[in-house]
Amino acid sequence: MDLSFTPEQLKFRDDVRQWIQSAMPPAIKEKAALDRSFDHDEQMEWHKILYKKGWVAPHWPKEVGGPGLDVTERFILSEELELASAPTLSPFGLGMVGPLIIQFGSKAQKERFLPKILSGEEVWCQGYSEPNAGSDLASLKLRAEPDGKGNYVMNGQKTWTTYAQYADWIFVLARTDASGKKQNGISFFLVDMKTPGVVAKPFLTTGNTLAFCETWFENAVVPGENIVGELNMGWTYAKALLGHERTLVAAVGRSTRQLLRIKRIAKDTIIDGKPAIEHQGYRARIARLEMDLEALRMSSYRTVAGAQLGKAPGPESSILKLRGTEIQQAAFELLMDLMGQDALSWFNPEGTIPPREESVASEHNYIRAATIYAGSNEIQKNIIAKMILGLPGT
C-alpha cells in the first residue's frame, strides 16, 4: 500500500516541469499563466515543440515514434502539461486514428499516415456522429458504395466534426452493408478533406467559438486502399480503441489547474470589502470541490497503479469520465459565480474583465459538452449498469 512516487518518477516529474517552462514560447507562456484558451495555430505550434522533444505521442509504441515511457511516466507527463495550462492537443490524430492505424492498419497505411500525424504536418478530424446517429452511433447511414473500379463512393453527412475546417484528413465510419445487423455493416475509411464532394462548414457553439463542423459527402470518391483493416469490421476496430488512456479522461490535472485559477480569482475578487476566498460560503464551496477532486485523484491513481502492473482496467476506471466531467463543469460553474458581473459578457468592454477571467464564459458554456461527448454520461451509466453491475437488459 504505497501512495508515493519513486525517486526516478519524482525526478522525471521535475525534468518535465522544467522542460515545459523552458520550451514554452513567450506568447504561449503568457496565455498559459492566465489560464487562457488557445486557438488552432497555437495548438499546432505547441504540437511541433512536443514533437521535437519526442513527447507528442507518449502512448505510441517505440517502433512508430513513441518515447517508450511507462504508464506512470505517461500519467506524470500529461498531468504536468495540464498543470502548466499548456495548449491541449487535438486528440483525433494522435489519440484516435493513429492508434487505430497502428493496431489495424496495413504497412502502407502506417508508412503513409503515421509520420505526418506525429509531426503535425497533417491534421485530422473525426467523422463518426451524424444528425441522427449520436448515442446510437451504430445506426449511422453515410453510405460507401463500391464503384467497380476499386473505389468507394461516399454519400451522407457527418456532424460534430471538431475543427474540420483546419483538417487535412478525416477518418469516417461509413455503412458498407445495410442488409444485416447494423454493427456488422460499418467500415473504417481514411478520407482526404480535399476530395471533391467533401465540404465542411463550421457552426457557432454556445461558447461562441467555431469548434464544430457539419461535413457533407456528395459522391466523394475514396480509394479502396483507404479502408483500414477489413471491410465491415469498422465498428469492432472503433470499439477496441475505446477506453484508451482511461486516466486522461478524468482530467484531474486540468481540474487541479482550474482549482488554482479559482483560488487566484477568489483572492483577487473583492466582495463587501474582503476577498471572496475569505467569505465562508465561497471558501467552503472551493474546499468541497477540491476535496471531491482529491477523491477522484485517488481513483485515477488506482487505475494508473493497476495499469502499471499490467492489469486490465478495474471497475474504478469506469467512473473516471463520469466524475471527471462533472467536476470540470462544477469548476467552471464556481468560476462564473465568483466572477459576478464579469461573467455577463465574453467581450472585454474597456478592459473591465481581468485577463485571467477573459475566456471563462466561453469555456464554461462549452464545457456542457464534456458530459455529452466521448459517450454521454447517461450512456456511461447504462454501460456500467449492464457490464459491471450485471443488471438485466430490457
Partner: protein, 383 residues
C-alpha cells in the same frame, strides 16, 4: 504507487472475510443488540487468538508488527457484516494512542492483554459542549501531591460501557477552550468515583456517559506530556476517522451488493425492476460513490500514521468528507431502491443505513472536515 496487498495482508483479509461470513453474519447484530455490553467477549477473545487485535502493534507487546493499514484492512471486512466488536475504539483509537504515546510501563501493562483479546480499551475525549474540538475540555485534573484528581463528565465514549481501561482527557491547566493544558490519563474500570452509564446508539452499538467525581490516579497514569495532549488527541481523532472510512467502505460494498441483488430479483409490472433505467442509473450513482470511497479509504489508511499534521489532516478530512457524502448516498438510496421493506427493522439494509449515520457523526462530520480542510495552511499555498 502500488495498491496491491502483500501476501500477509491478502491472508489477513481472506481470514477476516471468511470469519464474517461464518461467525458473524449481519444477523448477529439483531441478537447482540439486546445485550448490555453490545458485543461478545468470546468473539473478542477469538479475534485475539487469530492475531487480529495486534496487527498494528509491535512484536514486543504481542503484536504482528504491522501498522494502521493492517487494522484498516480488518475494519473494512468487519464493516461488511456490521461486526459489533469494538475493534475501532479499542484497537485503532485507544490502542494506537497508547502505543504511540504511552510509557514503557503502560504499554507493557495494557496492550498485551488487549491484543490477546482478554481486555478492551476506550478513549473518553468528547464532552457535552465540545462538539469535535479535542481541546475543548472542561473536565479538570487537579494536582494533589504526586497524584491527579479528575472531575468532570465525558460523553459518547465508544466502548466505555465495557472497557477495562479508559483513556480520559482532562485539563491540567488553562481555560476550557485553550489549545494547551489538556492531558490524558489511564483510568481503570471500577476506580472509586468513576460512574459509567451505558447508552444505546441508534445503530444498536452501546457507548457510555462517564462521570468522574474526584477519580484519583498516580503520575504513572499520565499518557504523554502533561498539558500537551492536543497532538495526541488530534491524532487519535484522525485514527478514528480513518477507521470509520475503512468500516464505511465495507458497509458501502455490502449495501451495493444487496441492493443490486434485490433489483435483479424483485418483479413489478411483470418485469424485474432492475430493467428500469431510473433504478439502473441510481445503482450506478451508488457504485460511483462506493468506488470513490474505496480510493479515499486507501488514502486515509496510508495517511493515518503520518505525524505531519498538515498533510495528515488534509488527507483524512478529504476521506472523511467523502465517506459522509458517498456513504449517505449509498445507504439512503439503498433503502430507496428496496422500497417499503427498506424502512422496516426486519430488513438488513436499514442496519447498514443506521451504522453509516453513526460513522458520519464520529470523529468529525462533513461540515467539520470541510472547515478543517479549508483552514489548513495548505489551502492557500502557492495561490
Amino acid at each position: 504507487m502500488d495498491f496491491t496487498l502483500n501476501d500477509d495482508q491478502k491472508m489477513l483479509v481472506d481470514t477476516v472475510t471468511n470469519f464474517t461470513k461464518r461467525e458473524s453474519p449481519v444477523e448477529r447484530v439483531r441478537k447482540i443488540r439486546e445485550s448490555n455490553v453490545g458485543w461478545d467477549k468470546n468473539m473478542w477473545r477469538k479475534m485475539g487468538e487469530l492475531g487480529w487485535l495486534g496487527v498494528c502493534f509491535p512484536e514486543e507487546v504481542g503484536g504482528t508488527g504491522g501498522n494502521f493499514i493492517e487494522a484498516a484492512l480488518v475494519l473494512e471486512r468487519l464493516g461488511t457484516t456490521l461486526v459489533p466488536e469494538p475493534y475501532g475504539p479499542s484497537v485503532a483509537v485507544a490502542g494506537l494512542t497508547l502505543s504511540n504515546y504511552g510509557t514503557a510501563e503502560q504499554k507493557e501493562k495494557y496492550l498485551p492483554p488487549m491484543i490477546e483479546g482478554k481486555t478492551s480499551l476506550a478513549l473518553a475525549y468528547l464532552e457535552k459542549n465540545s462538539r469535535y474540538d479535542v481541546t475543548h475540555v472542561e473536565t479538570r485534573a487537579e494536582k494533589s501531591g504526586g497524584d491527579y484528581k479528575i472531575t468532570g463528565k465525558k460523553a459518547w465514549v465508544l466502548n466505555g460501557q465495557a472497557a477495562d481501561q479508559i483513556l480520559v482527557s482532562a485539563r491540567t491547566s488553562g481555560g476550557p477552550r485553550d489549545r494547551d493544558g489538556v492531558s490524558v490519563f489511564v483510568v481503570e474500570r471500577g476506580a472509586p468515583g468513576l460512574k459509567v452509564k451505558t447508552v444505546e446508539c441508534m445503530d444498536s452499538h452501546k457507548a457510555a456517559l462517564i462521570e468522574l467525581e474526584g477519580v484519583t490516579v498516580g503520575k504513572g497514569a499520565l499518557v504523554g506530556q502533561e498539558g500537551g495532549a492536543r497532538e495526541i488527541l488530534e491524532r487519535a481523532q484522525d485514527y478514528g476517522a480513518a477507521a470509520a472510512c475503512a468500516e464505511g467502505s465495507g458497509i458501502n460494498q455490502a449495501t451495493l451488493a444487496m441492493t443490486r441483488d434485490y433489483l435483479c430479483e424483485r418483479e413489478q409490472f411483470s418485469v424485474k425492476i432492475g430493467t428500469f433505467q431510473a433504478l439502473q442509473h441510481r445503482l450506478v450513482d451508488m457504485f460511483v460513490e462506493v468506488e470513490l470511497c474505496k480510493g479515499t479509504s486507501i488514502l486515509a489508511m496510508i495517511s493515518a500514521d503520518n505525524p505531519d499534521p498538515v498533510e495528515r489532516k488534509r488527507s483524512i478530512s478529504t476521506a472523511k468528507k467523502q465517506l459522509s457524502k458517498g456513504g449517505f448516498l449509498v445507504t439512503r438510496q439503498g433503502i430507496q431502491l428496496h422500497g417499503g421493506i427498506g424502512v422496516t427493522d426486519e430488513h438488513n439494509v436499514g442496519l447498514y443505513f443506521k451504522r453509516m449515520q453513526i460513522l458520519n457523526g464520529l470523529y468529525g462530520d462533513e461540515e467539520h472536515h470541510v472547515d478543517r480542510f479549508m483552514n489548513l495552511p495548505s489551502f492557500v499555498q502557492n495561490v
